[in-house]
Symmetry: D2
Subunit: 343 residues, 4 copies
């Protein structure tokens, strides 16, 4: 692939995810060329640009958008900037990869999706787990009918350690920060829409999280239009590491995706047999998925196909998050239609 045919891309945001995208773009995605990084952290930006031979750095995203050479942008800045940046990028005719969530405001999401549609650019939302090979195979087992009609879905999703309390305070709450990935996974696997949510939970890990108005442990029940019932359970702290499993039970069988382990070693002694733990957290666990989502983004630009995670896919889990919040508050199942009307 010569340079001419590469898609020029700029990255906005150089936090943990932004850096991962930068590394992938520089090393593992020959179909793209990373030409600019925009971040408010000048030192980090320069270090990254140096390390990965990125020609342009800026702390002003409008400068990046003004660069006519740039065809696509990755929006990996904090959530509260996604809408403004995505709208501006769309208006500038750039294809957009936007980290989740698009926004915590449904009206703003709708406005953004309308602008994107009008601009005719690609817009992919960063639900990286869809690109995990194991979850992909689970989806295939469902979509192909291998397990028959799906009846019950169980998602286990637990973090190894809670985020800093300052992050918790601005995170939008566990449902919009953490469960949002599981809401997306549920929709992705089942291939249908959720109509009702019942959420329950509590503060079991860290009292500070409760003081911040959030919970750290949650169990959520979803009812799909097609009759599937799903449960999600979340915890902010699993001492054995990042726990990300799914199980789908259907009329002809069950398909599960277990945690990968850091190695395949087992030690048998007089106390039992001991095996390894899962990779520590999302960067380690989903490294390949983070790479694959970017490759899929560039493929949809190149081949002019719809993104594998659409704006609608970015919006639906936010609605589900609001429904879960209301359900927890009012201790009753909440219809998603209540959120749509009430917003």
């Amino acid at each position: 692939m010569n340079k001419r045919s590469k898609i020029s891309v700029g990255v906005i945001g150089a936090g943990r995810i932004g850096q991962l995208h930068i590394e992938h773009l520089a090393q593992n995605i020959p179909e793209a060329e990373l030409v600019a990084i925009c971040s408010l952290n000048r030192a980090r930006t320069e270090t990254l640009a140096n390390q990965f031979n990125v020609p342009k750095v800026t702390n002003d995203y409008t400068v990046l958008l003004a660069d006519a050479q740039i065809e696509a942008v990755l929006v990996a800045a904090p959530t509260n900037t996604h809408v403004e940046m995505s709208q501006a990028a769309a208006k500038a005719g750039k294809h957009i990869f936007c980290e989740k969530p698009i926004s915590l405001d449904l009206e703003q999401i709708d406005e953004t999706l309308a602008i994107v549609e009008k601009a005719g650019v690609k817009f992919q939302v960063g639900f990286n787990r869809r690109f995990d090979a194991s979850f992909g195979r689970v989806r295939e087992a469902i979509a192909s009918g291998e397990i028959g009609e799906p009846h019950i879905l169980r998602i286990t999703s637990r973090d190894p350690a809670p985020p800093p309390i300052e992050y918790v305070k601005v995170s939008g709450g566990i449902f919009l920060d953490m469960t949002i990935h599981d809401f997306d996974m549920a929709r992705y696997l089942i291939g249908d829409e959720v109509v009702e949510i019942y959420a329950t939970g509590g503060v079991r890990v860290d009292a500070q999280i409760g003081e911040a108005g959030d919970i750290d442990t949650a169990v959520i029940t979803l009812k799909f239009r097609n009759g599937v019932i799903a449960t999600i359970d979340n915890s902010r702290e699993a001492v054995y590491g990042y726990d990300q499993r799914v199980e789908v039970f259907g009329s002809k069988g069950m398909v599960t995706a277990a945690n990968p382990l850091t190695d395949t070693v087992a030690f048998s002694g007089s106390e039992g047999t001991r095996a390894a733990l899962p990779p520590y957290f999302f960067v380690e666990r989903y490294k390949a998925a983070f790479l694959m989502e970017l490759r899929a983004f560039f493929a949809c630009i190149r081949e002019d196909t719809p993104p594998l995670v659409t704006g609608k896919d970015g919006r639906a889990p936010v609605v589900m998050g609001f429904a879960a919040m209301r359900s927890l508050r009012e201790n009753r199942p909440v219809l998603l239609s209540e959120i749509e009307k009430g917003c």
Copy 2:
């Protein structure tokens, strides 16, 4: 152990469970002596008596209770006879092992437990799964603090095939027939009381079950007094066999009990690696547990200790079943206290 010191026991009921108890008593429980079988099925009773050298058969349980030699009875006749037989047995001074559920009527349960208490006899309810070695170890891991404070419990409980529709019609519904075991398991593992239940479900396996007014697929959420949140999922038909797993997540770790498999063989070919299925159904899966529950019953008689499954343990899951029924009907979480007051 000479015959003098054995506990003389009579069995009432010779259905699937009754026969299993008879076999165990005759062959594997040296501390008891099976002296009488009572069943309405004359031919089967005689065959069993012949096979296992049981001296006395009758089709009238009062005859059995009138036998002064008999110290203990096993009530394994249909559910609607449990109360009458248990009360009569208690009044006759016999220790009682009663299959679950005691009754589908809370008042009758309370009356029975009062009579049992007044009679001062042992009364153990047939929640056999408590005696499964793996579930026992899970409970230990919780009770000993090995997993720290428990936060989330997940119970998977799926039958290999639905019962005959005639059985379904008189079963009391999935919650009192099938989930009742899981309600008991939840209480047993967590060692605390449930305060609220949210149940959802549907007819996914067999339309006839729906026509009989029941459901065949259910997902239930339990809130415990101590903050633990549990989910139970049930299906009347898992094509891969009887699926009975638990997972308990806590502040210091997670403990799980997987399904046993019928053998340890794996075949690796070009399509993947194939392992065995679980034992077909409860008789195969819980054979050892059914034996252990009887041995525990005779031990509590001999040592004059409380049964490991008390009358209270027999009653609580019935309350939970009613709460689940109401929750499903009204699509809202139901407090167990509502059932207690309203019944």
Copy 3:
């Protein structure tokens, strides 16, 4: 099955295996009736007879053989008595179940098998592992062609702890005492004859075993007539318990039998995930197989079919044991034909 149609059986020997057979005969084998126990240990014999309602006890096996009512005998006395007892039993017209090894003397084995054949009685040798469900399924996978042509067989066979040194001294050596089971397993699984053996090993567990002229750790290579190559590895002490696995590799796949575990529980904490150990030793591990071998014995009597473990099957592993001993001594591969000629 009424008593008339049961096969009357006497057991000679009341050691660990003898007691297990007695228990099985008394409780779990309705097709046989245990009518006599013969053992030199008077107290133990009476206790057993009392416990299991066995009418006749004796310390003279000829008394037992003289009982015309007895149709079959189980020879579970020490190895050095097997030949004399089996020959006498055959001459008395009794069917014989003989513990392994028949003898450590090939001429005596041949003489015994000739007498048995002339008497026309059944003669089954106690290679219990053939009746293990998992190993049975492995054999099926080979015999049915599921793994194609078998190429490589690996047998792991390790005891949890060495026997008393006094036992080691009279055991005939590791190859005839311990590996003999694996030699039989190899023949059973592959369904063909071994032609050459190379054995190596050493004293790694207990110096006393070396002083007794034996080894405690061994690795043996077998070449089959059909080209399969097998390895067996043995140790007298695996701290994690009785380790009994097989793996067969063929042109169309691989089939393995892993160790069963005492429970299905796993604990995940910050150090990894810990699973259970195998059952402690052969009595626990092969309980069902010990039962099944007896039922097969009675079935071959009743149906007048050849035993599933024949006299030839009892003899071949002894030849293999001698070949292994010579191989170890001379540090070279030894043909089984050398043993046949040289004995």
Copy 4:
């Protein structure tokens, strides 16, 4: 890391392994800079140079060695060129990473190692499996004493499909081409030297391999100086994929490394539970190990420490291969000292 401080490296050979090294150097090893590729395949060389921005290409390795800027070379050309190239590179003062085997001629190996030593350059041999994380953990479990004294080692090493017959003809035979990796693994894990080898095998996969004078199925027994006994089994064709497992049994426990699987998905249906296969072959399975061995090579240059795979480590498995060949030919155990003297 700025460019000045990077180690300039040239790669000789652009076959399957050469290309993998080139890709790793270009993308994943910031501590090195790939400045030249030498290969006889002009088209492929130019494509690679273009793809990875490599400034210099040549088909003459002496041109590459004459480049004063180049500090280190990777010798990944065919085996029969390793000696000449390594010697020339050493004389040119370049650090050398040489693919295995150094040579199939012990004298030439010795000569090469002497030249390398005199030149004072680093010389690392391409035994990539030492850098696999799981095997590394197994080694730690042994070296740290976690399993006590090691007694028995089992290595399973089977390819998914045989190489082209033309390759087989020049490969040096299965022991020097395939088992050589397992010989190295055995030495690496046990941390001691083998003194005697017994090899057996046959042609089971493809008659053409036999016609080429080689075998395709092998079982090898190794005796270590410290008493450990190892077995290796090899096949050129495992239909379920690349099978690379180790098991080490010791006085205090057992440690195993199983195959990784391509995903963590399991499907349970009425026929059993089906799990995934291992990654197809060495490029997929050992990708991370191939990367880690190069990083270790550059680390030993930078830190001036001995390579983790020394010239001696490169030589020993060749001696073992010769011993195995003689053992197979003469059907007897062969001392490695016989090879040393006789060569």
